[in-house]
């Protein structure tokens, strides 16, 4: 009996020794400082909690022959072993003056260097020249919906032939590569006012707070400015507009008093929800449409159920008069990662930024 016990002890010790690891791993969330994995560092934008990537821009085009000119981008983050990988879908055209467009997909392990998929382009313009979205697919917004195990893309489409068709469409994909436009497109007609709201353009998309999706569109109600409205969806097929203004234009005479060209909403555990937006104060008239003039980046935070804006634009603009055209924002750990489309020496390109209140507080306390 004693021999048996002794043998058991020896075997147990041997087993423990054999199973022992060289280091102890504590299961806690990883919060990688992006500057530790990117080629260049990040520099704080003075008097803000924003940090600019020192080697901006990080995306203008991929060099693919079908994507000489990029028309729209949308960014997403998927964490693999709790470390972020970045996804980018983009529409492009071979020649800025040519008809037709295509959709591509690229990924990046650090948010700055992008690898396009070899199967690009993944989706082309509709074969039917009369289709409602024959002339464009832009303003795309993508979410991964774990409830239905698919990517959902909301996009703006239009057909400029004859009576202009203009609406929102949905495309779905199980893997980010194989995209199908759903049969009930357009899911929302932007050409027709709803309860006195005339729509300007799509703005954003998030997963719904309970289920489904929440889309955001710019619409002009009685104020005549392009303010933020919700469209709620219980499923990809069923989108219902909400007549209440979510975020009104800035007060008359301020830098964002004509409304918004793009928004992105992201949440930080400590600070709550943040809205990053492209606001503008004037219009430029073209032959068939109007576009925003003097667009800059702004930020608002959710306080007691209301969006409260910062009084001034975030000073990250590349041109004095403002040419910011789009913003995307995704939360990773304690930071919000931002991709801001702006004018880089005459070329529309995407810059990479961080909103990092913890780092800013640390810097300030060390002063």
């Amino acid at each position: 009996m004693r021999l048996l016990l002794r043998s058991s002890c020896v075997l147990s010790l041997l087993a423990l020794a054999a199973c022992e690891q060289e280091y102890e791993v504590i299961p806690k969330p990883v919060d990688v400082n992006p500057g530790d994995i990117t080629e260049c560092g990040f520099t704080r934008v003075e008097d803000t909690k924003f940090y600019r990537y020192d080697c901006n821009p990080v995306f203008s085009t991929t060099g693919e022959d079908w994507a000489d000119t990029i028309r729209g981008t949308t960014f997403l983050v998927t964490e693999v072993l709790d470390h972020p990988f970045y996804q980018l879908w983009y529409t492009g055209v071979a020649d800025a003056s040519a008809d037709g467009f295509s959709l591509g997909y690229a990924v990046s392990p650090d948010g700055t260097e992008w690898t396009p998929n070899e199967a690009n382009p993944l989706l082309d313009e509709p074969d039917d020249r009369a289709a409602w979205d024959a002339d464009a697919m832009d303003g795309m917004q993508v979410v991964w919906d774990p409830a239905t195990s698919q990517y959902v893309m909301l996009y703006q489409g239009y057909n400029l032939d004859g009576d202009t068709d203009w609406g929102l469409g949905v495309a779905i994909s199980p893997d980010g590569l194989d995209w199908k436009r759903i049969g009930s497109n357009p899911v929302f007609n932007l050409s027709v006012p709803v309860e006195g709201v005339y729509y300007c353009w799509p703005l954003g998309l998030t997963l719904g707070e309970v289920a489904g999706y929440t889309g955001y569109v710019a619409g002009a109600g009685s104020s005549g400015h392009c303010e933020v409205y919700r469209i709620n969806a219980s499923s990809v097929n069923n989108w219902q507009p909400d007549a209440d203004v979510v975020f009104p234009a800035g007060e008359r005479g301020t830098w964002d008093d004509e409304g918004y060209a793009s928004i992105a909403i992201a949440e930080l555990e400590e600070e709550g929800r943040h809205m990053f937006y492209v606001g503008f104060d004037d219009w430029e008239d073209h032959s068939t449409y109007r576009s925003a003039m003097h667009p800059f980046l702004g930020m608002a935070t959710m306080e007691d159920g209301e969006w409260v804006r910062e009084p001034s634009p975030i000073p990250i603009n590349m041109t004095e008069d403002g040419a910011v055209s789009a913003v995307a924002a995704r939360t990773v750990g304690t930071r919000i990662h931002l991709w801001v489309t702006d004018d880089y020496d005459g070329i529309s390109a995407v810059g990479y930024f961080l909103y990092d209140p913890e780092a800013a507080a640390l810097e300030d306390s060390a002063r």
Binding site: V25, I37, E79
Partner: protein
């Protein structure tokens, strides 16, 4: 006795899955997303605690052979969100 040895090695076997995963994504694929091997292991351990199917993830990532597009979909299939979905069903 065999049961005892199996139990003793149980926790270590879980860690081994993480090591295999990090061998793939950090050492073989050399993804810049991971600042170090230890950071990768920490993330893996955290995901395990959050309910990820790391064994399924490991097989999926090994089969992906450093195809980043495929690896991202492995995470959707076997990561913590996928497990939540199964529980809800």
């Amino acid at each position: 006795m065999i049961m005892f040895l199996l139990l003793a090695c149980g926790a270590a076997a879980e860690k081994e899955t993480c090591e295999l995963l990090c061998d793939d994504v950090y050492q073989t694929c050399e993804y810049g997303a991971y600042p170090s091997y230890e950071s990768c292991l920490q993330g893996c351990a955290y995901q395990q605690e959050e309910g990820a199917d790391t064994r399924g993830l490991q097989k999926c990532i090994a089969n992906a052979e450093c195809d980043t597009f495929a690896i991202l979909e492995c995470e959707h299939k076997f990561g913590p969100d996928a497990v939540v979905q199964e529980e809800e069903e």
